[in-house]
């Protein structure tokens, strides 16, 4: 501390930060409270804050009439598959690039790093053509396969594994472990923090992914939650505000809970992958 200051810092900064916090969080509070209101109350002017007659009607309708249960399952299946693929395949290559010597290593590394910056919009059209010709339009594999590996994942895992002591390999070899055994039994168990960061970021990205599922998921059986919500909010249900609020809650709240549980990993992950 440079200057003698009260134990709590300056009171007005707390005041400003608290007002800012209320403003930032208010839309979420509004969304949750709104999901328990009826259509009449939501359209009232001036608007009410607390629901007058809280009811679960919106949620009942969402799952009974609009089949949000299916969309929820699709979202979970896609996000879990994409996350598992990234954790496994990216750590495998990340390890090979960090610790092993093999022909073609430099070329592979250059291509992986070179594609880190290419925006998704560039690959979008041909990707659709490829997936369409493979007959994967409107299937869950069509939603999963293009995202199963990312150059970012390899980059992150390689960075982390490069920081582990290379003596681990020799120690494993002396103990008679196979080359693949060294990866599975020695390296992978040490990668916890990096795997947590990659897993969380991947799950988050997949859960919120919108553009690709919007074109690939063409019927209700493959809709993910954001697609269903977007289509209902711009389609014929666009004036059913209670339903839309409840739908938004179903999209946001599971992730919010995951986030609150793992927030330390989230935030440290962002900070450490962002800067060194």
């Amino acid at each position: 501390m440079l200057r003698p200051r009260s134990r709590y810092g300056r009171w007005w900064i707390y005041l400003v930060l608290t007002i800012a916090l209320v403003l930032v969080i208010a839309p979420f509070a509004w969304m949750v409270l709104g999901s328990f209101k009826g259509q009449g109350e939501l359209l009232r002017n001036p608007p009410t804050w607390w629901p007058e007659a809280p009811s679960l009607d919106n949620y009942t309708q969402l799952f009974a009439r609009l089949d949000f249960g299916t969309y929820f399952t699709n979202s979970v299946v896609v996000a879990v598959a994409v996350t598992a693929g990234n954790l496994l395949f990216c750590s495998m290559l990340g390890y090979a690039l960090a610790m092993l010597e093999f022909p073609g290593k430099r070329v592979l590394l250059t291509i992986v790093l070179g594609t880190l910056m290419i925006p998704g919009v560039v690959t979008f059209v041909p990707l659709f053509v490829i997936v369409a010709n493979a007959g994967l339009i409107d299937t869950l594999p069509g939603l999963i396969l293009p995202f199963l590996v990312t150059p970012f994942g390899v980059f992150l895992m390689r960075q982390f594994i490069s920081g582990l002591p290379p003596d681990l390999l020799d120690a494993g070899r002396v103990d008679g472990a196979s080359e693949l055994g060294i990866f599975g039994r020695i390296i992978l168990p040490l990668c916890g923090p990096a795997l947590a960061t990659l897993g969380i970021l991947t799950f988050l990205g997949s859960w919120n992914n919108f553009l690709w599922p919007l074109v690939v998921a063409q019927t209700e059986k493959t809709y993910t939650l954001p697609v269903a919500l977007a289509l209902y909010s711009t389609g014929q249900n666009n004036t059913q505000y209670g339903l839309l609020m409840a739908g938004a809650c179903v999209v946001v709240l599971p992730l919010l809970i995951v986030f609150l549980v793992f927030q330390r990993h989230f935030i440290e992950g962002i900070a450490t992958t962002g800067i060194k």
């Binding site: 200057r3 709590y8 810092g9 900064i13 930060l17 800012a20 930032v24 969080i25 208010a26 839309p27 979420f28 969304m31 939501l42 359209l43 002017n45 395949f89 990216c90 495998m92 290559l93 090979a96 092993l100 010597e101 592979l108 880190l116 925006p119 998704g120 560039v122 690959t123 979008f124 059209v125 041909p126 010709n133 590996v149 990312t150 150059p151 980059f155 290379p166 070899r173 196979s178 080359e179 970021l201 988050l204 990205g205 859960w207 919120n208 992914n209 919108f210 939650l225 505000y241 839309l244 938004a248 992730l255 986030f259 989230f266 935030i267 962002i270 992958t273 962002g274 800067i275 060194k276």
Partner: protein
């Protein structure tokens, strides 16, 4: 998804230097084979779903590929730069480019400013409840943009929306935020700032905490004011972080799509249509070649803007 991807690029220098392994090359017989077994799944998926589409997209952009050519992507006519010319002379594309520029030029500094302000306040201004504020400010980042857009569209309603109701308490007659040509883009920029400043804040916080306290103490002894210390010590040391956050934010904003798609459908009167959204529309109409050309134009803009930011923020350090 673009934010973490870009996170990596700025880190490239440390990544490019591979660790010095104290072992002789090729001294282990199974090593090369094991490495390739580990590399194969990634490499195959990566070639099929990233490398190949990048190449094919470039090829498509020089052809008249339409939806009907889906099954025979190579039996198409080569049209040279025609798609690029068509995009650049399309008034809606030009409008979309202007809207995107507006969004980026106002949105990026605003987002960075709010993020930096929040980070400095959390780092220097307070000593308690830091984690609570950090968590609260970061929450909008993790939420689905579609869900957020649905909620905001409702909050911004002209008559019964919460925003205008609150404004009316202090005597301000709020505009028809999303329905007015003047206010539609500012509304989207405000929403994007609300949603994205948390990422910048977290990264700035980490950067601020890396500034050695001894430097500040020495400057304070020499009589430097708080503002002088920030400007002459913290700011220069924060430059790499600033570069990183501005590059990733700009790349994300240059591709903005979901906000207008869900909130305004590009309206009113195309006042919020973005480059990505117009490209998506062309794809929807089946004009694949044209859409590919537009996507490469976006790519070129992103590359130029990124290079420019590197020049601006790397020099004079």
């Amino acid at each position: 998804m673009s934010a973490p991807t870009l996170a990596a690029t700025v880190q490239l220098p440390p990544a490019a230097s591979s660790p010095k392994l104290p072992r002789k090359r090729g001294s282990h017989p199974g090593e090369g084979r094991a490495a390739w077994i580990l590399a194969i799944p990634f490499t195959l998926l990566f070639l099929a779903f990233t490398v190949w589409p990048v190449i094919q997209s470039l090829f498509m952009s020089f052809t008249d590929t339409k939806q009907k050519d889906l099954r025979t992507p190579f039996a198409v006519n080569f049209t040279g730069l025609q798609n690029y010319g068509r995009a650049l002379s399309d008034p809606v594309f030009v409008k979309a480019a202007a809207n995107t520029a507006y969004f980026v030029v106002v949105g990026v500094p605003l987002t960075l400013g709010v993020a930096l302000l929040a980070a400095v306040a959390l780092d220097k201004g307070i000593t308690r409840f830091r984690a609570v504020y950090r968590l609260g400010f970061y929450t909008p980042v993790i939420t689905s943009i579609v869900a957020v857009a649905v909620v905001w569209r409702f909050l911004l309603q002209p008559d019964s929306g919460l925003v205008n109701t609150v404004l009316s308490w202090v005597g301000i007659a709020g505009p028809n935020w999303l329905g007015d040509v003047q206010w539609s883009m500012p509304s989207l920029i405000l929403m994007a700032t609300w949603r994205n400043f948390g990422t910048g804040m977290i990264i700035f916080l980490a950067g601020l905490q890396a500034v050695p306290a001894s430097l500040h103490e020495a400057a304070a002894i020499d009589g430097a004011s708080g503002w002088q210390r920030f400007w002459h010590i913290t700011f220069p040391l924060l430059r790499p972080t600033l570069l990183f956050v501005s590059v990733t934010t700009a790349i994300g904003y240059l591709q903005f799509f979901e906000e207008p798609f869900v909130m305004t459908q590009g309206g009113p009167l195309n006042s919020t249509i973005s480059l990505s959204m117009y490209t998506y529309n062309q794809f929807g109409y089946g004009n694949y070649g044209l859409a590919a050309a537009m996507s490469y134009l976006i790519f070129i803009v992103i590359a130029v803007v990124t290079a420019l930011q590197f020049r601006l923020l790397r020099e004079n350090t």
